[in-house]
């Protein structure tokens, strides 16, 4: 049954789909809409899924869903609201001072990733948070493995530069 197959195949990867969508959209409400639409598509195309690649397959659908929404919009920059709902879950075991420091660092790193162009941002998210191999990322993003490699390297270099700059600016305060 398609519904049972869907529950077994797609639902276990809902968190991963949402995390990816959240990093693409930079907005929780929009990420929910993207994942919802993607799941309906996934349900429809379930029969095209081969056995082995449900998670990467779902990422590709999430990505296509998001891109078609974005391209429908007249002005992408205006339509992309700023990130308002930060749902950082922090370690409550830390003392207040440490927690503040951690909160601060996490916010800086998150902001730095969100500022990256989406081509770099998505490969970093798929690699660092989802642990996808280069080959799997290449299949999701539909570029050659060499492109995945160079986007990862350049994305990380930019991230490093931004974070170093931020750290340097902090010392000037």
């Amino acid at each position: 049954m398609p519904l049972r197959a869907f529950e077994e195949t797609v639902l276990p990867h809902l968190d991963a789909a949402f995390n990816y969508a959240r990093w693409l959209t930079k907005n929780s409400a929009e990420a929910e809409d993207v994942v919802q639409d993607a799941c309906v598509r996934a349900m429809r195309f379930l029969s095209s899924l081969r056995n082995d690649d449900a998670r990467a397959w779902l990422f590709a659908i999430v990505r296509n869903t998001w891109y078609s929404r974005v391209s429908r919009r007249a002005n992408m920059a205006d339509a992309m609201p700023l990130d308002s709902a930060r749902d950082a879950r922090l370690d409550v075991a830390l003392d207040p001072e440490e927690r503040l420091l951690q909160q601060h660092t996490v916010a800086l790193v998150r902001a730095a990733i969100e500022q990256l162009p989406v081509d770099f941002r998505e490969v970093i998210v798929l690699r660092e948070f989802e642990g996808l191999s280069y080959k799997e990322i290449a299949a999701v993003v539909r570029v050659p493995i060499g492109t995945v490699m160079s986007r990862l390297a350049r994305g990380r270099e930019r991230l490093m530069a931004v974070l170093k700059l931020t750290a340097a600016m902090e010392t000037l305060r």
Partner: protein
């Protein structure tokens, strides 16, 4: 190997995407070059910072919305899907079947069962019966609960800490499930006595977005399941086999 080569391969090296020979070359160079070592350390620190950013888990209301929507669509689609599947089977013959999600094409119900069990353990928040990072706590816990003693190794030193164990039921018999963690990824290792004493090399499969490794060693059958990438799961299984 020169600094330029190492710089070019830096990300692939840290992401375990290099072949064994090149990895050895990079390691050799790092032993001798402090500048490249610093670069590697910096990149590793960056990776830790990035991964410390909290994961965005799907809100419960999204799960509910998705289920409600797909249940509604499925009743309409069911007929269409079966009609489409029928057309597919008729038009491409037996080959069409392989497009359909089914463990039967793998010819191995065990693969389906270990993946089901893995998914269940993550969804039902019943990952552990015994939660401990200490192999000397986990191993004795199974005593008296199973008619065999599963070997329990801790691989924390190479970045795969043991986090607990539980009793599970796979392939029509009780098995020991050992739970390991790699960053955000959970690895379930199902251990039970093998049907034969003959050791086998790892048989690697993928199903529904999970990777599965199966091998037999010391009369025990091992099934490792995770959504971890293939390279790291292979590294984990290699270390477990060698332990």
């Amino acid at each position: 190997m020169s600094c330029e080569h190492v710089e070019r391969d830096l990300d692939s090296y840290l992401d375990n995407e290099l072949d064994a020979a090149t990895t050895m070359d990079v390691r050799g160079h790092l032993n001798e070059c402090a500048a490249c070592r610093r670069r590697v350390n910096e990149r590793e620190a960056l990776g830790r910072l990035v991964r410390a950013v909290p994961y965005h888990s799907a809100p419960d209301r999204l799960r509910a919305r998705v289920l409600a929507e797909t249940t509604r669509t499925s009743s309409v689609r069911r007929l269409l899907t079966w009609a489409a599947a029928a057309v597919l089977v008729i038009s491409v013959g037996g080959g069409g079947i392989s497009l359909w999600r089914s463990a039967a094409t793998h010819g191995d119900a065990m693969v389906d069962q270990v993946v089901d069990s893995h998914v269940r353990s993550l969804m039902a928040s019943h990952l552990f019966d015994v939660e401990s990072t200490d192999q000397h706590t986990v191993k004795p816990w199974f005593l008296g609960k199973l008619d065999f003693a599963p070997p329990v190794a801790d691989l924390a030193s190479i970045g795969f800490p043991l986090v607990g164990g539980r009793l599970d039921y796979v392939g029509g018999r009780p098995v020991a499930a050992l739970v390991y963690q790699r960053q955000r990824h959970t690895i379930n290792v199902f251990v039970s006595p093998a049907l034969s004493d003959v050791s086998t090399r790892a048989d690697v499969r993928s199903l529904r977005g999970f990777h599965i490794h199966h091998w037999v060693r010391g009369g025990m059958s091992f099934w490792a399941v995770s959504d971890l990438n293939e390279a790291e799961l292979t590294q984990f299984c290699g270390a477990l086999e060698a332990s």
